[in-house]
């Protein structure tokens, strides 16, 4: 039984890995991870759980603060991607590392070019190498094709070949199916199983349960940077995986009374948007939010929530479908036009869309109203009035700073978010679109922001709350929807009716409501 012994051999292990980024985020905390030769091993977890960081450490792109890596029984130090390649570790990145104008064969051999007469690049030899490796591992591709002209699935194949041609024994694939069509995914899985049978070890990063169940042997689950253990795939049910992946840790209670809902404020009909890869990332979304109601959208990140928010706020234009705000068609409105309808937006990435880091607190706070008549005298701004406004908002929203002239960049994450919140909440909005309003924000500020949201809702504002934080959507929402792969797969008119476990099943695509069950969304 030599074969099975070999299969059991641990080829690589990572022990006690801890990684803290310079901004203080602890991405990995004492994580143990190991793979056996010839297995397909999944690393699962939600976005931000620390999967990518762990793999970046393994591929030499990041250095851990603590922990060690043992490869074939020896402790090694992986200082750079080249070092990882030398150890036989290859990585297929989510964003391909290819040169579009070069051919497949050229891309395959960059850095290890075969030579003719010791001087010239031997293109014929490069083609031969490509043909050989593609035949050997059954990954068919035309070596002379220009990469730019190829479909995504083919490009991914080149990346796998690139690793193989450099002698990789361990392949790390970072969410390889995220960009693939179902047919391409099927083809990829056949190829991966074929590679596994030839003795290759494959690490498969994913948060898609079905795929992991389908092709992996074992899986490691990460949650909030910690390992939730290693499991044999066949002995673990989807329900168990879901519970380990999605769970709430701390409970922040928010007091909130009964919602007093009024007329609809925001309505969408069959809202659809396609990604650059021509996949429907927002797919026929119907939703409705009423005055005085918080509608939460739960979902694993990257299931179209970000695009949906971009469409509603005018930052992207939908391919089809329509958006109505206060019975006005805003489908093709600019950001400014949408905002003029008393819509506020707390963007997902506050440093890019929320604030100008180099500007002062005052400049950031007044950026949505400096042009209003109220704050101008003739052609000049009424600076005194604007400064007073900034000062009073700093006070009201408890922004910790030296003065209103301080650069926003110098503030802590929580206080930067409060600058955004102060601007967006103080403009008397009728609709607030809040995308991850408390991400990366300290506990005190989080509580403050949540209370403010509830207060505005009590005053009659309609709120769309998008959050990957289950605790947040469940605590705050009056009604709740789940987005999965661009579609609304569940709707709960009363958010208190649903448990987190049930929600997890919808979020990971294990369950979905029928059209009839979802009917409540349309009729409200």
């Amino acid at each position: 039984m030599e074969v099975s012994l070999e299969i059991m051999e641990e080829i690589l292990s990572m022990k006690g890995i801890t990684k803290v980024y310079p901004n203080g985020v602890m991405a990995n905390k004492n994580v143990d991870f190991s793979v056996r030769k010839g297995e397909i091993h999944a690393i699962m977890g939600e976005n931000g759980a620390g999967k990518s960081t762990l793999m970046k450490i393994l591929f030499g792109m990041e250095q851990p603060e603590e922990g060690e890596i043992i490869f074939k029984g020896e402790k090694i130090n992986i200082s750079s991607p080249s070092a990882a390649i030398n150890y036989g570790i290859g990585m297929v990145h989510q964003h391909f590392m290819l040169v579009p104008s070069l051919t497949v064969a050229e891309n395959l051999v960059i850095g290890i070019e075969p030579k003719k007469n010791n001087v010239f690049f031997d293109y014929d030899q490069a083609i031969k190498m490509t043909e050989e490796v593609s035949k050997k591992y059954n990954l068919s591709i035309n070596p002379k094709a220009v990469v730019d002209t190829l479909a995504v699935g083919k490009k991914q194949k080149i990346e796998i070949l690139k690793a193989l041609v450099r002698g990789a024994e361990i392949l790390i694939l970072d969410e390889p199916t995220a960009v693939l069509t179902p047919q391409e995914t099927k083809e990829l899985f056949e190829e991966l199983i074929n590679l596994k049978n030839q003795g290759f070890t494959i690490i498969f990063i994913s948060h898609k349960l079905k795929e992991v169940k389908q092709i992996t042997d074992r899986l490691t689950i990460l949650r909030n940077g910690r390992s939730m253990g290693v499991h044999e795939t066949k002995d673990t049910s989807e329900q168990e995986i879901s519970n380990l992946m999605v769970g709430r840790d701390v409970l922040l209670k928010v007091d909130k009374g009964e919602a007093k809902v009024g007329k609809p404020v925001l309505k969408t009909e069959k809202l659809t948007y396609y990604s650059d890869e021509d996949k429907p990332v927002v797919n026929k979304v119907d939703l409705e939010i009423k005055k005085g109601q918080i509608l939460g959208i739960a979902g694993v990140e990257g299931n179209g929530q970000g695009e949906l928010v971009d469409l509603l706020t005018g930052m992207k234009t939908p391919y089809s479908g329509s958006i109505w705000i206060n019975e006005k068609d805003t489908t093709n409105h600019s950001v400014k036009a949408v905002r003029n309808l008393k819509v506020s937006h707390i963007p997902e990435d506050r440093m890019i869309y929320g604030v100008s880091g180099d500007g002062s607190i005052e400049e950031n706070i007044i950026s949505d109203r400096f042009d209003k008549k109220k704050y101008n005298t003739g052609v000049l701004m009424n600076v005194k009035k604007l400064t007073e406004l900034a000062k009073s908002l700093i006070e009201d929203y408890n922004i910790r700073c030296a003065s209103e002239k301080q650069q926003v960049r110098m503030l802590s994450g929580g206080n930067i978010q409060k600058v955004v919140v102060a601007r967006e909440f103080s403009s008397e909005p009728e609709l607030i679109i809040a995308n991850q309003p408390t991400r990366g924000v300290d506990v005190g500020s989080t509580e403050f922001i949540r209370k403010q949201l509830v207060k505005l809702r009590d005053e009659g504002t309609a709120v769309l709350l998008v959050s990957a934080d289950l605790n947040e959507v469940m605590e705050l929402s009056d009604s709740l929807m789940v987005m999965y792969e661009g579609e609304i797969v569940a709707y709960f008119e009363d958010a208190t009716e649903v448990t987190e476990m049930e929600l997890g099943m919808y979020m990971l695509g294990l369950k979905r409501m029928s059209v009839e069950e979802l009917g409540g969304v349309m009729s409200g």
Binding site: P81, S82, I85, H93, F96, M97, L98, V99, P100, S101, L102, E106, N107, I110, G111, I112, E113, K115, V119, F120, F121, Y123, K162, R166, D278
Partner: protein, 311 residues
């Protein structure tokens, strides 16, 4: 009008097109290498000017045109190295660093000329050498062709051969493959262990060397002296020629010839009764027109590309 026609379709005009294309072609080749590596070198103008002075000074003092040429190439490489150091090590903006080199060259050459020879503006007191002309044996005796292609300065032939050289370099050597990869997707190049900075250093030094050739030709072939700002924007026209030639060796040869023709025409037209200020504008007007046509075509192409993607 008839005399204009006669002018353009004469052997002399054909000959002068090649003569004035030479410095533009050298600079364009240099620009192309740097752009392919993703580090655009817009200091070709100043580098050529510095090299032109260096050629005059060294050939004047050594009495050897070859020494002057080598000196010009070396100073070109040095300026390329300097730009690379500023942009790649000190992380200054490469455009700003190159503008600084251009400004430094414009004033610095006048200053250096005065310090070395006491001449103001024109190197009349330096007994600089000329690079030889070459008569091509069989070709020379063929009518018309001989008149156009024979009896040119040696660097004119070198510039034409350089087009072939750069083609081989970029498309037939491992270094060329790396240059193109680094310019297009440095992350991809880095991920397979290519030293991106080293490749960009090499590309900038090579582009400086070609500017050195161009400078040497200006002061030891095109004319036989150095004069203030004698490159007259050729280093910038080269950037336009690179764009118009779409970064392909044959393309940049044709684009350089087009700008050369405009230049030659402007020289010849000065014989007619047209205000010389207007005639001298011609090469630059052609440059602008060329770039507009190029830009319009590019925009249309990318629109078409996007439209196809949607379907």
């Amino acid at each position: 009008m008839g005399s204009l026609f006669n002018l353009i379709f004469s052997t002399t005009f054909g000959y002068s097109v090649l003569r004035v294309t030479t410095p533009i072609l050298f600079a364009t080749i240099g620009a192309m290498i740097s752009i392919k590596a993703g580090v655009v070198n817009i200091s070709m103008e100043g580098t050529m000017l510095t090299a032109a002075l260096t050629a005059v000074v060294i050939s004047g003092y050594t009495g050897s045109a070859l020494a002057g040429l080598i000196g010009a190439i070396l100073i070109g490489m040095l300026l390329g190295l300097m730009l690379a150091y500023f942009a790649l090590n000190l992380k200054t903006n490469i455009i700003l660093a190159a503008i600084a080199i251009n400004l430094m060259a414009s004033g610095g050459t006048i200053f250096a000329l005065f310090v070395i020879s006491g001449d103001r503006g024109i190197s009349s007191s330096i007994n600089s050498q000329m690079l030889p002309r070459i008569i091509i044996p069989v070709l020379d005796s063929i009518p018309v062709l001989g008149g156009i292609f024979s009896n040119h300065n040696i660097l004119t032939y070198v510039s034409l051969i350089s087009v072939f050289f750069v083609y081989v370099l970029l498309y037939k050597t491992p270094l060329g493959l790396r240059i193109r990869a680094v310019g297009e997707n440095p992350n991809a190049a880095e991920s397979v262990g290519i030293n991106v900075r080293k490749v960009q250093y090499i590309a900038l030094i090579m582009s400086g060397a070609f500017a050195g050739f161009g400078g040497a030709y200006m002061s030891m072939g095109y004319v036989s002296r150095f004069s203030t700002d004698m490159t007259a924007g050729r280093g910038f026209i080269a950037l336009a020629a690179e764009a118009l030639g779409m970064g392909r060796p044959l393309g940049i040869l044709l684009a350089s010839l087009l700008f050369g023709a405009a230049d030659a025409l402007s020289n010849s037209l000065q014989r007619f009764r047209i205000p010389s200020e207007f005639v001298q504008m011609l090469p630059y007007i052609v440059t602008i027109l060329g770039l507009i046509i190029y830009a319009v075509r590019q925009t249309n192409a990318s629109k078409r590309h996007k439209a196809e993607d949607r379907v």
